[in-house]
Symmetry: none
Subunit: 249 residues, 2 copies
């Protein structure tokens, strides 16, 4: 890890703590509010809370690892010799990224068969995308990083295609009251996810050092908050609206 200033180190710690608070609060909100949606949507809301719950756990681990790298004594950063374990992020994504696609599919209430086939397909593609990124993340060699980045981009682009083309009909069949919102969740998911492969290539573009490290940690936190907490609450809003519309019919 590059040598940070006390201000940068503390800013990242504060941001990680902020993310812990957001994930914990969203988990509680979703699980408590779950009883307000009708039965077909309960699993979608439960899973949305599971995603933020898993992220909560990993942000606690990331925060603890970050805290162990330095001690601040008399206003000066002193390295402890321990290294920052950023790979908890990959462990988190391996679980949460497939589940994020599953919650989107669940809230659309497709046929049982379509739900299973689309969840399995998108879930496996998402897991593959994360697994292929991991060896690149561990490497300092630009060529190795580009190789794994390129391999990981194949399932990523495939997922984007599936979300836009494969789900097009299903989105068109959603009740008018939520159609726009479902499309927004889809678009916001893609936008948030695009952040990760861009950050991945920062070191290959020579973007490194303390400012870059600070921005990367804060950027990952914001992307995770959008992709997990904000999306989770939007999934709940869709489930709530659909419950109301369908009871009336």
């Amino acid at each position: 890890m590059p040598e940070l200033t006390v201000g940068q180190y503390t800013l990242v710690a504060n941001f990680l703590s902020f993310t812990i608070a957001v994930m914990g609060a969203t988990t509680a909100f979703l699980w408590i509010s779950r009883s307000q949606v009708s039965d077909p949507y309960k699993i979608a809301v439960t899973v949305s809370g599971i995603v933020t719950f898993i992220a909560l756990y990993h942000y606690v681990r990331i925060y603890m690892s970050w805290s162990e790298v330095y001690t601040i004594t008399d206003g000066v950063l002193v390295a402890t010799g321990k290294s920052f374990n950023d790979s908890y992020r990959y462990v988190d994504w391996l679980l949460t990224v497939p589940l994020l696609l599953v919650e989107l599919i669940l809230v659309m209430k497709l046929s049982a068969q379509e739900t299973v086939s689309k969840s399995v397909k998108l879930g496996l593609l998402a897991a593959l995308m994360i697994i292929l990124g991991y060896p690149g993340e561990l490497s300092d060699v630009d060529g190795t990083r580009w190789l794994w980045w390129s391999l990981s981009m194949i399932p990523f682009l495939w997922i984007v295609y599936e979300l836009f083309v494969g789900l097009k009909d299903a989105i068109a069949k959603q009740p008018p009251a939520v159609r726009g919102l479902v499309g927004m969740v889809r678009n916001l998911t893609i936008a948030a996810w695009a952040f990760y492969p861009i950050v991945f290539i920062f070191p290959m573009l020579g973007i490194s050092g303390p400012v870059a490290e600070t921005m990367v940690q804060i950027g990952y936190s914001i992307a995770d908050i959008v992709a997990k907490a904000l999306i989770g609450i939007m999934i709940f809003a869709i489930a709530l609206k659909k419950s109301a519309v369908e009871v009336k019919v």
Copy 2:
């Protein structure tokens, strides 16, 4: 414990942490979703969550013990002199393995008498299997390990026989909508459980060293995730389907 590289040590730590996240997430999912199944299936789903909850506790213990064996200072592993307590796994299995058989029996909704007799029989056999394996696990002597392994295989094979022959009629009587899924749970349980006696004989076959230790820890974690979390979610799926089918009748 053999001398590991930093990469191997961290990989196992990440995998143990991954398993903590999976067990915690599955526990929350099962307990929250329990309200969606009809009364006769609530205990099966509760017990499935109890199993992953017990595993969550033990994986936290295993992770903590693993973390105490070395410190990583300036990228170098330094032994602390503490030993890794792998026997938390046996304590976990002593509780969870009988309960896994109980959750399978409960979700089948046999007669009250059959439920009790089969749960007691299979539960005691499972506990006996774990207890007989434990003295072998503690020993470094090949002969001693083979002795206890052989003794432990008797209840193991008895359980396999009971699952295939003893439960055959009961599975055939399940509603058509879930019959395949119940059979899959039975087969997957046997497949996951077969992993443990195979890993047990690794040291007797001369398979040891840092790579073997890394693979064993990751393998145990995967087997536990399949046998507890995946099976638990499949039990919930069976309970949900049976609830829906039986309401309609």
